[in-house]
């Protein structure tokens, strides 16, 4: 009995960790955008859903696996994010929060309803050949789709880390995030860097969408849930911190899976919001955030 229970618990933790990697990648996009330009992307879940739909369409109409269409989707999202920042968001940087909120809310409404108009309200999923494959490690089972998605998410996060620490553009973006006035003074093109950053944030969430569709079917109504989930993850991890977003993703992934096992499945997000309230009150900078806001 207890051995069974421990095994179930371990299995739930494994599944939670794997899904949590993808959550982390999604939240990374939100965190990068906020960390650099202090804009909260209220359209984040909507962007995620659009990424999921694109991957679904690639699979349904062109028979391309989401893992293969991922680079294309990420590139498209990068371009769209870059243009969106340049055209709409740029004038709103530094404006009052309620104006930024309204702008991104309008973008969110447009994205989710465009998805609804094009793909309809039904839930859409992909049935891949690897759907029922799994790897067994001792008594634990790793679903192939989840494992592949998690590995891809880790690989993308690593690439981002290399970008931000090793390339000139990446370092410039971090400089602009630390002190945008100083960055301007030393001659960095901050406007272009901001657009680049929004592109990278969008690419993260697009890629996360392509991975998520292999785990869960998509419907337009998921968008708000993902926006809230991304908020929870980045606040828990530390808004603006990259490793914090990944860690927060794992934490929320595991806590959802374990809460789903121990309590009613419908109570699992109550647990996440409870955690969010605690972190906001006790450590508003997040688990890995820097000292002061």
């Amino acid at each position: 009995m207890t051995a069974d229970f421990l095994l179930n618990l371990a299995q739930a933790i494994v599944n939670g960790l794997l899904t949590g990697m993808v959550y982390g990648l999604m939240a990374l996009g939100l965190s990068v955008i906020f960390g650099v330009m202090r804009i909260v992307n209220f359209a984040h879940g909507e962007m995620m859903v659009v990424g999921m739909y694109l991957a679904w369409m690639g699979f349904e109409y062109l028979q391309v696996s989401p893992l293969l269409s991922l680079p294309v989707i990420a590139l498209l999202f990068f371009g769209a994010g870059y243009l969106l920042q340049r055209s709409l968001i740029s004038p709103f940087i530094g404006r009052p929060e309620h104006q930024q909120f309204l702008l991104l809310l309008a973008v969110a409404i447009l994205l989710v309803n465009a998805s609804l108009a094009i793909a309809g309200p039904d839930s859409r999923g992909v049935q891949m050949e690897s759907q029922f494959d799994s790897y067994e490690v001792g008594p634990l089972v790793f679903d192939a789709v989840r494992l592949h998605a998690a590995l891809a998410a880790v690989a993308i996060a690593l690439l981002l880390w290399l970008f931000f620490t090793r390339t000139r553009t990446g370092k410039s973006i971090r400089a602009a995030a630390d002190n945008n006035l100083a960055a301007l003074v030393v001659g960095l093109d901050v406007r272009r860097l901001y657009a680049f950053t929004f592109g990278i944030g969008a690419a993260c969430v697009g890629a996360a969408g392509a991975l998520m569709i292999t785990i869960i079917p998509v419907s337009p109504f998921l968008a708000v849930e993902y926006t809230l989930l991304a908020f929870v993850i980045v606040i828990v991890g530390g808004l603006g911190s990259m490793t914090g977003a990944l860690l927060g993703g794992l934490l929320i992934g595991v806590s959802e899976a374990v809460a789903g096992l121990l309590l009613q499945p419908s109570l699992k997000s109550m647990f996440s919001f409870g955690l969010l309230i605690l972190v906001l009150l006790l450590r508003p900078q997040g688990l890995l955030g820097k000292g002061s806001q």
Partner: protein
């Protein structure tokens, strides 16, 4: 009369006359308007009222709440639950509903302001409390759980139990909206109102010159929660049903914020103008959507309209309109 004179203060007579004429027109409107137009007017007044309530917190005191569905939902659920289970009418039940919402507002406010969460962080805290409550109500059987709570639809007018047709609800929401307008005017002209504006502009400077910042913020959230809870009670008895998925939804909270933001944050006429613009657009796009028959098309037009307004009138429609009409509102 001295209260009225004080309230009117230095407002230009043109505005006072226009308001008097508007009120007279609204009072006779049900006699003239058909069912459809009356329902549109009811929606406008509802959004003007909750907008006014939200505006006290964000427009006056500068605290961004994106979780106001919490107070509307609590007010509505408590009053409807008391009526449903024990036959306690809403005129008594609203006190319980408002009390619970005020308590919730005081908790959210105290925790948030005590730990000096500001801006986005405070907004996320309000969202978290609303979502947490939504999930709790999903599992609370007294309130009907996720299956919802339903009140019996009755057509005979029964003012004691707030049962009846649209005309009854029209006059109730008109009284609420007019009352909130007068209350906000009085608040803005009071010392408290001046403190709020000081906090909104620069909380640290306000603290430094001796404004009791924490207490003022608490008063703002408590008044705002109480008024929003009244809107929730009205809403529950007007629609006769309540679901956690809609009563506490993020979408409901967002809906409450739109009229004041679009109309003009921190102004008295902003929430009213915003409610007219948004309800008008919503109805027009619904008709358009019926013609085009594409799912989501109504929302797409709505999103585009919001985008255009926030890009070209980021401070809201009313300040611009007031300027065009040669009126200037002083308080912001």
């Amino acid at each position: 009369m001295s209260f009225v004179r004080r309230l009117a203060g230095n407002a230009p007579p043109r505005i006072l006359w226009s308001l008097a004429i508007l009120l007279a027109l609204l009072l006779v409107a049900p006699a003239v308007l058909g069912k459809y137009w009356l329902s549109v007017l009811i929606l406008i007044l509802y959004f003007a009222f909750v907008g006014q309530a939200w505006n006290i917190m964000m427009g006056f005191a500068g605290q961004l709440s994106l979780g106001h569905a919490l107070y509307a939902g609590l007010g509505g659920y408590i009053a409807a639950g008391l009526y449903f289970h024990y036959g306690i009418g809403p005129w008594a039940g609203l006190f319980a509903g408002v009390a619970v919402a005020v308590l919730a507002g005081a908790i959210v406010g105290y925790l948030g302001f005590r730990f000096s969460l500001a801006g986005v962080y405070f907004a996320l805290l309000t969202i978290a409390f609303a979502e947490f409550t939504r999930l709790a109500f999903d599992h609370w059987q007294w309130a009907g759980g996720s299956g919802g709570l339903f009140l019996k639809v009755e057509h005979a007018t029964d003012i004691v139990n707030l049962r009846g047709g649209p005309v009854l609800f029209y006059y109730v929401i008109l009284a609420l909206a007019a009352g909130a307008f007068i209350l906000c005017r009085a608040l803005l002209r009071s010392r408290l109102g001046q403190y709020w504006l000081a906090i909104r502009e620069d909380a640290e400077a306000a603290q430094a010159v001796g404004v009791p910042v924490l207490r003022c913020k608490m008063i703002a959230i408590v008044i705002s929660a109480a008024l929003t809870a009244l809107a929730g009670v009205w809403n529950a008895f007007y629609y006769n049903n309540l679901f956690p998925e809609t009563a506490f939804a993020m979408g409901r909270s967002i809906e409450i914020t739109l009229a004041p933001i679009i109309g003009g944050l921190g102004t008295l006429f902003g929430p009213i103008v915003g409610a007219v613009v948004l309800t008008g657009l919503g109805e027009a796009f619904t008709d358009l959507g019926d013609v085009l028959r594409i799912p989501g098309i109504k929302q797409i037009f709505y999103g585009l309209a919001l985008l255009v307004i926030v890009m070209y009138r980021p401070a809201g429609v009313w300040p611009w309109l007031a300027n065009k009409l040669g009126l200037t509102e002083r308080q912001s």
